[in-house]
Symmetry: C2
Subunit: 222 residues, 2 copies
Amino acid sequence: MTPRKTPFAGDGEKSEANGAIRERNEREILAAAERIFAGHGYRGASLQAIAHEAGLPKSNVLYYMGSKRGLYVRLLERMMARWNALLDDISVEDDPADVLEGFIRSKMQLSRRHPEGSRLFAAEIIGGAPFLQYYLRGEMRDWVQARALIFEQWSARGLMDPVDPVWLIFLIWSATQHYADFEAQVLGITDKDTLTDNDVEAITGFLTQVILKGCGVAPRQA
Amino acid sequence: MTPRKTPFAGDGEKSEANGAIRERNEREILAAAERIFAGHGYRGASLQAIAHEAGLPKSNVLYYMGSKRGLYVRLLERMMARWNALLDDISVEDDPADVLEGFIRSKMQLSRRHPEGSRLFAAEIIGGAPFLQYYLRGEMRDWVQARALIFEQWSARGLMDPVDPVWLIFLIWSATQHYADFEAQVLGITDKDTLTDNDVEAITGFLTQVILKGCGVAPRQA
DNA sequence: AAACATCCTGACCACATGGTCAGCTCAGAA
DNA sequence: TTCTGAGCTGACCATGTGGTCAGGATGTTT
């Protein structure tokens, strides 16, 4: 029977059952790699640095991940999966205020919950998105176009100003992403050590207020 | 006297007077380096690649620039100088709409005129701003604080909503920067090859409209 | 022509890179 | 006791890195 040791973190040093070791090490490596890749980009990151960050020998990283490229792609895919996870479908019947605020909130949370992943993504895009072209021109484009259509219908119904929906999506995108990607700048200028939950809540509120008002959406239940 | 040869681009191939050769080569190298650093970050960029991009042997790049680090710092300083060049002082007596629109316009132009520089800056910040800490916590902070004070006075006078001025500055910042830094994403999603002047004008108009309205600023001459 | 400073670069160096691999450890099954 | 297989890793390799340098090319001044 073997009563299946609990695979929790913080238990013994050795001898987990099954592939628990693998699972834990992979998690550790992925986390370390996300940090390093986020900070230095694909080329700038070295397996040595990633291994050091994960507290493992370089060979071990390659043993689990196969190659630098494979590791990087895996991280990107994980980030895209997180992104997809927070996408609920919307319909013309929904309340624009609800939808926009929900969009801002969830995007803000994603950036906050995974700042390294967010920076990793940003670095990839800034570098010309060599690995993500297919994604941008595929899934992501479809997603944006679908939203844009609905926004336009709202405009036609007088529920919001006739603004270009795609630019609106980019506006929300950039504003929310900024606080993760440019954290160093935000902290430096505001002279803080970290952004607290309160700060984030305040920013979210600010963005919601300004953007909703800015495109003429009544602030809840139209 | 020496009638000072015009230092325009496109003149002869050889034998410029004075340090004209030096000037031209340095310009070439800086342009190439900006592109490479922007695409791969500090560590990810190689002198080899920069030299190739500039059409010179690697030794020549080092002959002019001394070191990779020096070259990088010089690029950052050039970008900061460009940034400073477009900063006009403002006063409480100015029209909020004028100031905000001017801010959006000039920031947008900067990003558009120097997209590689903008991306270079972005990559530096994403990586934790190792070279720019002093600048963020110095000049840039002062600049933001000064503006923030004036925005607050405008709010007190009822010329705009009582929004947090620092978040407002970051909002404008991120939105305008986005179209340079995330160009790959914007192009991929909108299925364009480039952003035309018309596109940029439309975006600028959109941002001005939404942001001014969003924080309750009357759209010209309050 | 001789002197001079600037411009230029191939060869080289010590070191870091991504990746391979033979062979180790060690728990559990046969 | 032997075998198996997952986990692991130090040594190694070809290639690329930033940087140095001796020495040549080139043009200007005397």
